[in-house]
Amino acid sequence: MLFIINDNAGPIKKAFKYWLCVDILPPPMNAAPQKRPVYLNLFQIRLPIGGMVSILHRVTGVLLVLALPLAVFLLQRSLESAAGFAQVSAWLSPWPVRVLLLLLALTFLQHLYSGIRHLLLDLDIGVDRSSSRNSAWLTLVATALSAVALGWLILA
């Protein structure tokens, strides 16, 4: 197998494996794959609220990465010259763009709030069933409240 790389592999192979997130693969734990159905329909499985927030954290994270080049581009243009600054200001002034901007800010804030929740969980704070459910709801409530506050700031 191409991707089986053992511990004394050379640096190139090691780099390759790091890149791929493949490690020296142990033999698959389930050796006898049989033709059996697997029930894994995400629309039928009822995710707990913590699971929903966690998925949202992932989705917003990916969106933020996609928005990153745009942010750098706008930053660069706005710093470049007076014309650039004016141009960026002009781009950002129509209200549909402002709505998009608001959504982007909310994306960031959702990722931030649920990230804070995860950090607290990592510090063993609120790691029981009811607190974790409450904190999951809290991130959503906080995002909603931020939407109101930011909406007032950005759109007004």
Binding site: N30, R36, I45, S54, L121
Partner: protein, 237 residues
């Protein structure tokens, strides 16, 4: 007067061929019957339709046989009151594991994960004449860990397990790993931690907490996993 309950149950019989399908059942609940658990209802359905297959044993929530996906949520049929679930009662096998038949899944992978954490006490010292002494406080560390019944509800509710079942150990096995790490009598801490420090086995856990949310014994695998991570951090310095 009796009441009726509606069921919709995942059916798959490899001998009959074909794809899995949902089958509807209607169950008459006689008046004056005691509070029924879902497993009682399944037993009554099986009396009507012998071909309906599910596992069961202790029927009191300690053996872990009858884990299933009940109205979208994993749980044990024997300690789920029928009254507490809405019609139609939709029953499917535990998610993410190969279905052998109807509500019965192949748990080989789950058991292998359990086995992979070396779930047994390792102590290298000669056996004393009496007990290996343990204070009540040290023993308290095992509460919430040793009670796991290996029903599989947690691991099969875990998205990380769904996506990487062959490499991530899953909450149940990790809970057991911590059960031995936390045991004052166990001396294989370093070896156990070494085994876990890998991008997959432990660190696929993203603190989603679905495991703790569904555990029918109210155990908290997430907390145990957090403690393993803390132990790893502490080791580094």
């Amino acid at each position: 007067m009796s009441t009726f309950r509606q069921f919709s149950i995942y059916r798959y019989d490899p001998d009959a061929g074909g794809e899995p399908r949902m089958q509807s059942y209607r169950l008459e609940i006689p008046d004056g019957s005691r509070e029924l658990m879902l497993l009682d209802a399944l037993g009554m359905l099986k009396a009507q339709d012998e071909s309906l297959a599910f596992r069961r044993s202790c029927r009191e929530g300690v053996c872990g046989s009858d884990g299933m996906n009940i109205n979208g949520r994993n749980g044990l049929a024997c300690i789920t009151p029928l009254r507490s679930i809405k019609d139609p009662v939709t029953l499917r096998p535990l998610p993410g594991l190969p279905v052998i038949r109807d509500l019965i899944v192949d748990m080989t992978q789950f058991y292998n994960q359990y086995r992979a954490v070396k779930p047994w006490l390792i102590n290298h010292e000669p056996e004393p004449e009496i007990e290996r002494l343990q204070t009540p406080a040290e023993r308290d560390q095992l509460d919430g860990l040793y009670e796991c019944i290996l029903c599989g509800c947690c691991s099969t509710a875990c998205p990380s397990f769904w996506w990487n079942p062959d490499r991530f150990l899953g909450p149940a096995a990790l809970l057991q790993s911590w059960r031995f790490l936390a045991d004052s009598r166990d001396q294989a801490t370093a070896e156990r931690l070494d085994d876990l420090e890998d991008p997959y086995r432990l660190f696929r856990c993203h603190t989603i907490m679905n495991c703790s949310d569904v555990c029918p014994k109210n155990l908290n695998p997430t907390k145990a996993i957090g403690k393993i991570k803390a132990a790893l951090m502490k080791r580094v310095g």
